[in-house]
């Protein structure tokens, strides 16, 4: 495994903002947003990290600054090594990051998903549309302030909305997310159930 120190020392001279990042498994580095595309290109062209495994983002919280961090997971098919690169988005309200579709065409849908879920605009992306939620959906569901149950919105199709009154509603959570228990218990007890069963749609959630 390529030690983090090696990656940092190899690239430190070229990228002054490069810093090691705490990692439980693979080499991980943090870099300034402005230097991220050049660093990724160097990793691809000079250090044989030819495969983009994953591209995702982190929302630290609505109050945090910097709020959004974009994460790239690279793999070297020649060396069988991974490296993780992260970069903070400069703007917390309108996060943006340079697109890497020109480096790895596979980044296309990852960046669309990232844009859909977090609202991070990938500059230079050839076709930055929502990929999971429908066009015109007003929220970015993986942001911290967005509730799992969702917020009321209109259905995607205006023609159908004119015909039926149904709208997208906040899902009734009745005790919060459903969790499956595992371990040595019978299957009936291991069924997914609400964490807190003291309230439901009819009985209000007690104020705690």
């Amino acid at each position: 495994m390529l030690a983090t120190a090696d990656v940092v020392s190899a690239l430190q001279s070229k990228f002054p903002s490069l810093a090691p990042r705490t990692s439980a498994d693979h080499a991980a580095v943090k870099v300034a947003a402005a230097e991220a595309p050049a660093l990724l290109r160097t990793l691809r062209d000079e250090m044989q990290f030819d495969f983009l495994c994953d591209l995702t983002a982190i929302d630290w919280s609505a109050e945090a600054s910097p709020r959004f961090t974009v994460v790239w997971h690279l793999f070297s098919t020649a060396k069988s090594e991974y490296v993780r690169v992260t970069a903070d988005c400069l703007d917390d309200a309108k996060p943006a990051m340079a697109s890497v579709v020109s480096l790895w065409p596979g980044a296309n849908w990852h960046e669309r998903e990232c844009f859909d879920m977090f609202g991070i605009v990938f500059e230079g992306h050839p076709d930055l549309r929502r990929i999971l939620m429908w066009d015109g959906y007003p929220y970015h569901p993986l942001r911290k302030e967005f509730p799992l149950a969702g917020l009321p919105t209109d259905l995607p199709d205006a023609e159908i909305s004119a015909e039926i009154p149904t709208k997208a509603i906040s899902a009734p959570m009745a005790g919060g997310p459903f969790v499956a228990s595992s371990g040595e218990m019978n299957l009936t007890e291991a069924e997914p159930r609400a964490k807190d069963e003291s309230w439901n749609e009819r009985r209000e959630k007690p104020n705690t």
Binding site: L132, M133, W134, Y139, P141, F146, P147, L148, A149, G150, L151, L155, P156, D157, E159, I160, S161, E163, I164, T166, A168, I169, S170, A171, P172, M173, A174, P177, F178, P192
Partner: protein
């Protein structure tokens, strides 16, 4: 001299090709035993739906083996799977394209109530967009459960006054 007629049952030699019955009974008999499903397979329930159509469970025994992928030729939409909000208008549109009379079976927990997907992306029960006749519990339901739902739907159709359907307002 008139010979006494001892025939008690229908005799085609005497009466010709004539059957007397109620129109509702005949129409419902036809509808009941040739209910062509529209397989609205959206998730894992669709796999069970395929099992229902295959030889072991054989939905053909109930006259519903003609899965029609064109809504124009279907009578009964089987919503098998999780309906997302993104898919919901399409489900409704396909329902609208089916000719009346038409029925809907909500197969499985997700189609019936949203199931375990209590989230921003999932329609909380397909009855919010189309009128459902039969709900099937299970995640996914056993094929027998869907056959039972079909039989229940057939019983419902048998009781329907046929003329009422002619004047049924567009749902």
């Amino acid at each position: 001299m008139v010979s006494p007629n001892t025939e008690l049952a229908y005799n085609s030699k005497i009466e010709g090709d004539v059957i007397v019955s109620r129109l509702d009974a005949v129409v419902n008999w036809i509808r009941t035993n040739s209910m062509w499903p529209m397989p609205m397979g959206l998730a894992c329930c669709a796999i069970e739906l395929m099992g229902v159509a295959a030889s072991r469970f054989d939905i053909a025994r109930f006259g519903a083996e003609v899965m029609r992928f064109s809504p124009r030729q279907a009578d009964c939409m089987i919503v098998a799977g999780t309906v997302t909000y993104k898919m919901a208008p399409q489900v409704r549109r396909i329902y609208d394209q089916m000719p009346s009379p038409k029925w809907v079976i909500a197969m499985g927990a997700c189609a019936s109530t949203g199931g375990m997907y209590r989230s921003y992306a999932t329609l909380q029960g397909v009855d919010r967009i189309v009128p459902v006749d039969v709900y099937v519990s299970g995640c996914p339901p056993r094929p027998e459960a869907l056959l039972d739902a079909l039989v229940k739907l057939q019983e419902k159709v048998k009781r329907e006054p046929g003329a009422k359907q002619l004047f049924k307002p567009r749902a």
